[in-house]
Symmetry: C2
Subunit: 251 residues, 2 copies
Amino acid sequence: MPDRDTPQARRGAASVLPAGPPGSDRAGLDQRRVLGSAVEFIDEHGLRELTMRRLGAHLGVEAMALYRYVPGREALLDGVVEVVVDELYGDPDVHLEATGGWQDYLQRLAHGLRRIALAHPEVFPLVATRPPAAPWVRPPLRSLRWIESFLRAMTSSGFSDDAAAAAYRAFSSFLLGYLLLEISGKGVETGPVDEPDVPATTDLAPYPTLRRLEPLLSQDRAAEDFELSLEALLERMELLLPPRRRPRRKS
Amino acid sequence: MPDRDTPQARRGAASVLPAGPPGSDRAGLDQRRVLGSAVEFIDEHGLRELTMRRLGAHLGVEAMALYRYVPGREALLDGVVEVVVDELYGDPDVHLEATGGWQDYLQRLAHGLRRIALAHPEVFPLVATRPPAAPWVRPPLRSLRWIESFLRAMTSSGFSDDAAAAAYRAFSSFLLGYLLLEISGKGVETGPVDEPDVPATTDLAPYPTLRRLEPLLSQDRAAEDFELSLEALLERMELLLPPRRRPRRKS
DNA sequence: ACCTGAACACCGTTCAAGT
DNA sequence: ACCTGAACACCGTTCAAGT
């Protein structure tokens, strides 16, 4: 399912995984099929349930067969992260780097990553926390090609190298925090159904302010928050431009 | 080690764990000792290594003995998160809610959480990704008492309920993204030592901008970034105040 | 009251063996 | 060339039994 229409998408970015046998494409396994199936499995049952043996069963094969295509469970998870992040290449809304300037590009990039997080909420914590391959790989922008694309868009828009690097750090921090919290707020109350007679609702009596604001805090403002904070971030980035290229702020 | 000098710290916030036997305090186990030991173990060996059996050995006991004090591994991890977050209660720099106004309070709160993240980098991903008990519990501010404290500080400083809630959401997103990325940048290059003759350095030739900025991106700017972005966040929060309470911006 | 031994079902992973 | 069966070391968890 993922990684559509990008023949050598996984080839460009130094893949975490060895190549594996070339896709015989018809019957039989395939690294792409294994990884895609793993993503599917996590989307459906959650990361906790993913097991080499169960993934094998999901593919109609014994667990041991997977080791032909993946060095082990850890590498499988790395591959899952890679596949999900690579879905960005198939997103038509994100392509074409600089048709509308850097702000437009960063907007589309941010929204593309948000779509990925919302499409794979069970995978995203993995995207967020797997140790990156290099210190300058900052989740959720874990693909060398997108990092390159980001930095080129900024520098070619007039940002200094320092400013582009600072923008990259701010952008990744913003996305990581926002998206992780958005999906965490989503997944609550799902899971094993416990005693329905004990509502498990915490007693808020000792916390009067919290109790008063509780209905307010339970509202889902993720979409608006995302737009507004992204807008604010872009405005703050604008200040990193050399003064000549910075449009006068209306006030 | 954690949870020092706060006798009933874990009593106020609805604990995830049942009480367990009262601490006989001398020899023998104790829920506090089990959780504290787990934190210690993760700090030392990483989350991946933590096993009921190994934690038992670490405490000089068989794994099965732990089940007297903890319902299972999942609850143990919840307890670990709770213990680490509760360290905030022992931080003398964070206490006293509003001596210097809300900005000063949020500064100290943010720095306190940053100290925790840096002190327990192996635990922090757990703080970030464990499913919260309620939708309005937003990591890394996972303690009802601190959420209450935050909201009270804001509302009593003139923020409307809506503004306080928005500030809470923005503050938690900021901290989560920043701290998670700071510790992720720290932990890289540690772990199993592979082939030292193959430096595993990715070939950056296809990514010229990245290659040019690589030394810049490898610098550790976490501390400065944190200060500056926190400052910017607080300034943005100021705009949520009703105009009368908002000091005139200089310039 | 607290801990242990033995047992159960299930992991990840290796490897010789099948086809 | 690709998959499997059997095996190994190790999990989390239960429970009757020890002290």
